[in-house]
């Protein structure tokens, strides 16, 4: 599939550049794939996250992580109902509306829960995207290609977790241009964005920024490896996921 797509792009490029350029265009890949993964990067069959809500449960603590995430990804700060957010906090009733009961333990009920993209096994956003601008990578991360997004917002209707934000205006108006992270792009108006599980950090061997800053309250690892940290903690502690009835199989677990 991927090769077909690449060939198609290549053919379109050749057609546009004219036949004279064709031999050179073929030479760009030299008949073999000129790309490889960074050996320093970390890889998995299925990345997953476990959030220990007994340790990470206040607005302030989650806001700290969100600030770090939003700063390194140049996520704009916009007030009101057109906000853009990758990581944020919400009370129990908003995080787990289907799993609330009227006589819950005060302690659990009053915690704040860190919310982000669930990087689902069966992501509805990928299913509905008409351009493959949202896609699922081989390692389970639901990623986005902002170059290709047409801004139809079908993914926002599809996501049962409200994890996606649309740039209703120019995102750079919501950023302190002097404090941008120069190593990561911003977005442009008219595209959807969301948490990317820090693919750019995994590619160079670093854990996601929120995991690193959480002091152990967030565990990250390969769900398909029985000896991984996430599997170990999932074996030992009771966890729930958001909206299990949606059948999406979220990759983010919450220790209650």
């Amino acid at each position: 599939m991927k090769n077909n797509r690449r060939n198609f792009i290549k053919l379109a490029g050749i057609a546009a550049a004219g036949l004279a350029l064709a031999p050179k265009a073929m030479a760009s890949s030299g008949g073999h794939s000129p790309v490889k993964k960074n050996p320093a990067g970390i890889d998995a069959k299925r990345w997953a996250m476990v959030i220990d809500t007994t340790r990470l449960n206040t607005k302030e603590d989650i806001a700290k992580l969100a600030d770090i995430c939003h700063a390194i990804h140049n996520v704009p700060h916009i007030e009101g109902k057109r906000e853009v957010k990758w990581l944020w906090s919400a009370p129990y009733g908003q995080a787990f509306p289907e799993q609330e009961n009227p006589h819950m333990s005060d302690e659990v009920h009053h915690r704040e829960y860190a919310l982000l993209c669930n990087h689902c096994e069966n992501p509805p956003c990928v299913r509905v995207c008409p351009t493959k601008a949202t896609y699922k990578r081989a390692d389970g991360i639901v990623a986005m290609d902002y170059h290709r997004c047409i801004g139809c917002r079908y993914c926002m209707a599809g996501c049962p977790y409200g994890s996606r934000s649309f740039n209703w205006g120019e995102p750079r108006e919501g950023l302190d241009l002097a404090k941008l992270n120069p190593e990561f792009p911003t977005r442009m108006r008219g595209v959807v964005e969301k948490c990317n599980f820090c693919v750019e950090r995994l590619a160079v061997g670093k854990l996601p920024a929120c995991v690193e800053a959480s002091e152990g309250a967030i565990v990250f690892g390969d769900l398909s490896d029985p000896d991984s940290d996430v599997r170990k903690v999932l074996r030992e502690r009771f966890t729930i996921r958001r909206k299990p009835t949606a059948g999406t199989e979220p990759g983010v677990y919450y220790i209650i």
């Binding site: 000129p34 960074n38 290609d145």
Partner: protein, 129 residues
């Protein structure tokens, strides 16, 4: 058979074809005086990712491929024809050497009247204001 309104039709057609051809007639006058823009090349790096000719003609194609390789396949190391490896990144590889967009990218793009949307998202090395 006589053509109805023949005269105005023929004159109109001739005017239209003439207007269509003006770029070819006037254009040579412009291209005759056209000077290639002077680019500010990196001071301490002689070789780009690929040869000068390849980059001049196909940098857009390469960037297109780079994007898909990095984002979709998660393969972020590119090996060039000489066997040298580069990290695939516009901001962190290309623009580290070409550290001024206005002196490099914009020169040709302005002359060719193209406005690629790279910089709507990617941050130029000069920073944003």
């Amino acid at each position: 058979m006589r053509m109805q309104n023949g005269f105005p039709i023929i004159v109109g057609l001739l005017l239209f074809i003439g207007a269509l051809c003006t770029p070819f007639l006037v254009g040579t006058a412009v291209t005759g005086t056209y000077k290639e823009p002077e680019l500010k090349l990196p001071a301490n790096e002689k070789n780009c990712v690929e040869s000068k000719e390849f980059m001049r003609e196909q940098h857009m194609q390469l960037l297109n491929d780079w994007r898909d390789w990095a984002l979709r396949d998660g393969k972020r190391i590119y090996t060039n024809h000489a066997g040298k490896e580069f990290t695939i990144s516009l901001q962190n590889t290309c623009m580290k050497c070409h550290n001024n967009k206005a002196d490099f990218c914009d020169k040709c793009h302005n002359d060719a009247a193209v406005t690629p949307y790279c910089w709507d998202c990617h941050i130029q090395p000069e920073g944003l204001k």
